[in-house]
Amino acid sequence: MPDPTLPAPATPTGAAPAGALPIGAVPTGADAGRRTTPPGQRLPVLDVEGLGVRLGGRQVLSDVSFHLCQGEVAGLIGSNGAGKTTLLRAVLGLTPVSAGHVSVAGSRGRRPPVGYVPQKVVLDPDLPIRARDLVQLGQDGHRWGLPWPSAAKRAATEELLAGVGALHLADARVGQLSGGELQRVLVAHALAGGPRLLLLDEPLANLDLRSARDTVALLDCIARQQGIAVLMSTHDVNPLMGVMDRVVYLAGGRAATGPTADVVRSDVLSSLYGHHVDVLHAHGRVIVSIGDDAHRDDGCDAVPASAGVLADEPEPSRSGWR
């Protein structure tokens, strides 16, 4: 097992298969060209092809295809209920797929280690488990038998905690950590298994602006230094714009995928939503605004605060931003 804490630079070995990207295989934008190695030369870690998922008799995802290479950071973007969690769970093998296939690091049989940080982990405050125990369980939580303490394991655990800046939390009960602190410990837990793929579900949801920026920087650093592919879901593109190599954009059960600059584009998103979508660049931020009823989607301030007007207006047509 490779030690996950050591920086393992992503060294491309041999010719990686050029991924069949649905949209624009060549990175063109400034953001996508950020890496020193072009994505085409890295080893593919995750390959999703024609994925379909039905839940409770409803087609939640259909025909989702994308791939992810070593050391890449990908954003899984979509509004509430778009299917982000479902997609991540399908990649993990926790949700049965109804069509297509998912393969991690080329293997379709045995389950390779995949790190996962769920969207919400609710812990009882009296749980007698410390942060270091939880990280330790990330290494050997699936093993049978009693654990034997060893100096090497202890050192590895502390190194992982230090890597996410949570060493000072090592002896705290996990149930008493704050949302942001728990997030770091969970990232260390996820990394402990030595994964080649790290999945994070809404890692920025409970964080203030600074912690969100720190977390994004941390994940970017993990991806770059250890050559781990990172796929994280979020409903807002903007915090990831600087670090994201690739986007999987979910709306209406379908997905637009490809290098960031190729997906977050007016024409691509317009065809995805079936509405006219504007992508505005302002001060390094990207604002996605949708179609004719964009003023309704932006919030209430665009609507006159008069009950009569609200009542007379017809229902806005359905859009991705519900």
């Binding site: 039905r54 008799g57 409803r58 087609q59 009296d126 209406g252 379908r254």
Partner: protein, 277 residues
């Protein structure tokens, strides 16, 4: 043989079981919705302690049962606010049982009467019992129906309810009190050990048959009535304890609910969202 089933003597049993069923169906609907099965199992054990205490002091059994059910409710509501619910419930339960066995061993009374309360004796329900039963049933059904929306809200989203000015702790206390009242009135009929079966079986099936809370509540009452009537007929016919039929019926209702759910989840031609384009 069955003609005696509707004799004047049995009339009281019919009335009492029906009243008990309505109360159990209404309260039980929220027991299942809120996941309070363990509490509904534990509170009636206070009745056993109460009966033992009443035997020791020579007072009315039903009064003792009511008082100790209320004590159990108070302890659950108070300690359950912090800490784990199931732990607190288990501790209250064993305290009640241990205290009851202390009363029994210290007292010299014959324990038979106390144990009959554990399993119920519906065929011996007297007319003097009927009006208190109706009153108590009306009170606890009223309590639940008055706080219907609060109960629904705090079951679905406790933190939401807290923000809306509804105190989940207070709602929980009143709800546990309703369980206690329903328990006390059901005791002589179904027995302390099987009251909770009557509370969870019918609603478990009802909520699988419909997704609308109001309809499910009505269905739950209807199924509880069917359960007690069938159990009464069975008990009369076989002379076996009513609780046995109630316990078995609850298992059957649960299985029916599971079956209905599985049936409803067959792949249907439901409109797939987002695939219209």
């Amino acid at each position: 043989m069955l003609s005696g089933l509707f004799s004047a003597f049995m009339l009281h049993s019919w009335e009492a079981t029906s009243v008990v069923a309505v109360a159990a169906g209404v309260v039980g609907f929220f027991v299942v919705l809120r996941g309070s099965t363990f509490a509904a199992h534990a509170i009636p054990q206070g009745a056993f302690t109460g009966a033992a205490a009443a035997a020791l002091l020579g007072t009315s059994t039903l009064l003792g049962a009511g008082v100790f059910s209320f004590l159990a409710v108070g302890a659950l509501a108070r300690w359950g606010r912090r800490g784990r619910h199931d732990v607190v419930t288990a501790l209250v339960l064993v305290i009640m049982l241990a205290t009851g066995s202390l009363f029994l061993s210290v007292g010299s009374q014959y324990a038979q009467q106390t144990f009959s309360l554990l399993f119920g004796e519906p065929l011996a329900v007297s007319s003097a019992y009927l009006w208190p039963t109706v009153g108590l049933a009306a009170a606890c059904t009223g309590l639940v129906l008055v706080s219907y929306r609060r109960l629904l809200l705090t079951s679905a989203a406790p933190e939401l309810a807290g923000a809306g000015g509804v105190s989940p702790a207070a709602v929980n206390f009143w709800f546990l009190l309703a369980i206690g009242a329903a328990t006390t009135l059901a005791l002589p009929v179904v027995g302390a050990l099987l009251v909770f079966s009557l509370m969870i079986g019918p609603p478990a099936a009802a909520r699988s048959l419909t997704a609308r809370p109001g309809v499910a509540l009505g269905l739950s009452v209807l199924l509880a009535l069917v359960t007690t009537w069938a159990a009464l007929v069975g008990a009369y016919w076989s002379n076996w304890p009513l609780g046995f039929f109630v316990g078995v019926a609850a298992v059957l209702w649960y299985l029916l609910g599971r079956g209905a759910k599985a049936w409803g989840h067959r792949p249907r031609t439901a409109p797939a969202v987002g695939s219209s384009r």
